[in-house]
Amino acid sequence: MKPRFKHLLGIELLTRSDIIGILDQTESFLEVLKRPIPVVPALRGKTIVNLFFEPSTRTALSFSLAASRLSAHCVNFSFPSSSVQKGETLLDTARNIEAMRVDGVVVRHSMPGAPHFLARRLKAFVVNAGDGCHEHPTQALLDAFTLRQHLGSLKGKRILFVGDIAHSRVARSNIICFSKLGARVAVCGPPTFLPTDIEKLGCEVFYRLDKILYEVDVVNMLRVQNERTDLSLFPSIREYRALYGLTRERLSKLDKSVLVIHPGPVNWGVEMDFEIAEFPQTLILNQVTNGVAVRMAVLYLLAGGHEET
């Protein structure tokens, strides 16, 4: 059965069964990645363009690998931020891509709505790899997949987000995704890091980490967004770590069954202490592995076209 959607612009546009469909498909791609030759010819002859207006090594690489493992041809464009102002408009970029007749575009942009802008103007399918503070849907899918591997189902599980929720697209996508899968979501951070009306998205809100940390099944740590914030939001790194960091002391008090995920890259010593990387319940590297498989599933499903309604 084909997916209902032509593009992957955000988790908010997916239903629960859309999400589960993608996660199920990811299982077979995870198996492919374990083979001696981890390549399948499914997308042979297709061209995918990585259009990255914001810098990224890991996400671009992950999509690039995913496309290559499907035997698609992948081309990378990265735009240093200054040339966006001086150079082509997004509209011109869209027109050029359309003229070059590619099959799929993976776009990361600093402004919300940029992937939607492209999707309205291109015949190619569009995958949102991060649009400003809005969404990062493949991150949410790979995080959901990683948690599902370890927990079975997310229904009824308590998941806590810690950090700069206001400026985090990962937080927004994950909160919506996990909620759709039945989890109970809580957010924790200094008030300056929590966006207005966040509780109306169905989250419990906590300002003190120690009040909630030991009651949850999963901790989703977030990066303190240096490049996107106005640094008047918290007084110092020292204070942030003491009040909101997953320090080794806090981790040692956590039940061993509690899982820890982080979208990366981690600010070691700020939101998490370095030792935490070695703890068995830290799933950061699993997230990276699963990321390629999830992105293969997404590209495979979108390349096959969608159910016209």
Partner: protein, 430 residues
């Protein structure tokens, strides 16, 4: 446009905003003025126009719009803008001075008046800037601009953030009995493109809190009280500002206010698709704010409705939401939106609604009181309130087409009217 000696408008429902009533009357126009009104008038040799089933109102006055000339003529000119204004029923418009160069001197006021006269469409009453070059630092030549024909001052587009400068502007304008129109927006908050709330949180858009408008309005209201000057608050968009104005009026502050059709028609829920046609400053707010604006119009806290007609070229608007310019054209949809959201929704009577766009702006700006009485200029519009229509791009008179209202079913329509000696028709009156 013909120039008959006498025209008789027969059998229409005449809206009299001054006396808050509507009645079936004939109107006789002669030599560009209203000659007579009454029942069953006889007028031999007059061109007779059957207005049965239609309404006749004084021509509307838009006290806040942008005509983009000089400087941005690819978006709109005084000629195209005043024509679009007429299509919306506005026989008088007040363009804001944020042009390039800005209207901060007598010469530029005269330029606007001359261009308007050449075009021959809606009459133009210029608004001068408060400060030189709209820079917010030094007083502009307000006295000279008044003498040249300016009816108010404003640095619209920006707030005069230096309180000392705002105080001086308020005080200085007392000598000329000019209202100071303030665009209330605190300058210290980071740039926001959407109202701060659940929608901006979900969409990850840079948010502008409504307190930016209301806190700025509070400062200006208190300065107006202190200086005993006349203040007018532009484009009121949120509940808190409405409450402040109500409080201020009760205290006797000389403050008036306007709002725009989009603030009583749309909410921030419209931003879901990141369509830049919904991007405006102040931004669309929540439904609670929308209701407060409507209540403010109903109880007179908000005196006037203005369009904030803001043309932008297609290429300017067809960019990412964050960097798109704010604002949309508004002349041609204003009347219908207000008729639907206020009159049909039974928040305001038809006469009171029309007064928000006629007598209220006239009173605030010191313009001749619009009325359909013998001796008055024949500036009037003919309306078909039963009309149901959809506005499409090929019907637009404005040079730009940035509007969120295309394809929307609209109620009530301006079908034509008179501007002194001239008649203009957009639809056949029959």
């Amino acid at each position: 446009m013909k120039k008959p000696e006498r025209v008789l408008l027969a059998g229409g429902r005449v809206v009299d905003p001054g006396n808050r009533r509507v009645r079936i009357w004939d109107v006789l126009i002669q030599d560009g003025r209203i000659a007579k009104v009454g029942k069953q008038l006889r007028a031999t040799g007059a061109q007779r126009i059957d207005c049965r089933g239609k309404h006749i109102a004084p021509g509307f006055i838009d006290m806040h719009c942008h005509l983009r000339e000089p400087g941005q003529e690819d978006a709109e000119t005084i000629a195209t803008g005043t024509k679009a204004a007429l299509a919306g029923g506005f026989t008088k418009v007040c363009p804001m001075p944020n042009t390039d160069p800005p209207i901060d001197s007598e010469a530029l006021v005269r330029f606007e008046l001359a261009r308007a006269k050449e075009a021959g469409f809606a009459r133009v009453y210029p608004i001068g800037s408060c400060t030189k070059a709209r820079a917010g630092k030094e007083l502009a030549e307000i006295g000279s601009m008044k003498q040249a024909g300016a009816v108010a001052v404003s640095d619209d587009g920006s707030w005069v953030d230096d309180p000392q400068v705002m105080r001086r502007v308020l005080e200085y304008c007392k000598a000329f009995d000019l209202p100071v129109i303030s665009h209330c927006e605190l300058t210290g908050f980071p740039y926001g493109v959407a109202n701060e709330g659940l929608v901006s949180t979900r969409l990850g858009l840079a948010a502008g809190p409504d307190v930016s408008e209301s806190a700025a309005a509070a400062r200006d209201i208190l300065l107006a009280e202190f200086t005993r000057a006349r203040l007018h608050i532009a484009h009121v968009s949120c509940a808190a500002t409405v409450s402040l104005i109500r409080w201020a009026k009760a205290r006797g502050v000389q403050v008036t206010a306007e709002t725009c059709p989009h603030y009583f028609t749309l909410t921030d829920a419209a931003l879901e698709t990141f369509d830049t046609n919904f991007k405006v400053n102040p931004p669309l707010r929540t439904d609670k704010d929308r209701q407060a604006v409507i209540d403010g119009l109903a109880d007179g806290t908000i005196d006037a409705i203005a369009t904030d007609h803001a043309p932008h070229t297609k290429s300017a608007k067809e960019v990412e939401f964050d960097i798109a310019p704010a604002g949309f054209i508004g002349f041609e949809t204003a009347f219908s939106l207000g008729y639907e959201q206020l009159v049909l929704a039974k928040k305001l009577s038809l006469a009171d609604y029309v007064s928000r766009m006629t007598t209220a702006p006239a009173r605030i700006l010191g313009l001749p009181m619009p009325c359909l009485q013998p001796g008055a200029d024949a500036d009037l519009v003919i309306l078909d309130l039963k009309a149901r229509w959809t506005w499409t791009r090929d019907q637009v008179f404005s040079r730009s087409q940035n509007s969120p209202f295309f394809g929307r079913q609209l109620h009530g329509r301006v079908i034509g009217g008179f501007l002194g000696h001239k008649q203009f028709w957009f639809l056949h009156p029959a």
